[in-house]
């Protein structure tokens, strides 16, 4: 499908401490590509390396970027995105999502997971769509929530 081929999405990875993040990020890349949306992944070196090692021939991985370089590009108006998905399982994740909501024109989706997903979701006080599930090792609760919003996310553009 290429009906949205001019659109792009930033996937902002958080600390890779919680196992579901890498799996869900790859799934999100797949979902976006299926809808003709070009994903770009930004994250810490460790978060990116987890994905790169799992996909050495880059069958699935799209463009990868350093998290600070991505923020620089947006704040300096050199680049922006239509959609932005931020993976959150701690306060730093909330802080990064809040920053993206402020500096980017993208529609921001806060993908909240981990043991404290509900508590973190309650801390969101900036404009974004919250997708929250208590998922640590099993990605399915978050996958189901993401599937629910993906069609809506694309149709909103």
């Amino acid at each position: 499908m290429t009906e949205n081929s001019n659109e792009n999405a930033l996937i902002l990875l958080g600390c890779p401490q919680v196992p579901v993040q890498t799996s869900m990020a790859l799934y999100l890349v797949h979902s976006l590509k299926q809808r003709g949306i070009r994903p770009v992944i930004a994250g810490t070196p460790a978060a990116r390396k987890l994905m790169e090692v799992a996909d050495p021939d880059r069958h699935y991985l799209p463009e990868m970027a350093d998290i600070d370089a991505a923020i620089d590009e947006i704040t300096e108006k050199r680049r922006d995105f239509d959609l932005c998905f931020v993976f959150i399982h701690n306060d730093s994740g909330v802080a990064y999502a809040g920053t993206m909501a402020y500096i980017s024109k993208a529609r921001v989706y806060a993908l909240i997971f981990g043991e404290h997903a509900e508590d973190l979701a309650a801390e969101i006080e900036f404009p974004c769509e919250v997708v929250a599930a208590k998922a640590v090792h099993n990605p399915m609760p978050l996958k189901r929530k993401l599937d629910e919003v993906m069609q809506w996310a694309v149709s909103k553009r």
Partner: protein
Amino acid sequence: MGCLEALKPEILLSQSSFREAREYIRKNVREYHEVEPGYRIFDVHIIGVPPLYIGVEGEHLIFPYTKPCHGTFVVKVPGGEEIGMAFASRTYRCPGSLSPPKGLVLSRIQR
């Protein structure tokens, strides 16, 4: 080694939330400036939800530094001659870093 690390920052508050870091600066630093999220100082960005503050204490700058895995730290580093440049010209940079976007310093607050 990054620019900030090379300055051997003093850690005033560690592994806190960005809100706790904001309150720490607001309550403990006499002069502080509000900046927008994404403001670049040295080689790091100020991350969080407004209001976000950078403090000035003598020859030092005090600001929140958010690490994805370890939360937000409030750090104190020597600002030297660049303190004046930071808020007078609305730009702040360390060697090799990019300039922040103009106009990101919103206001100066002094108690």
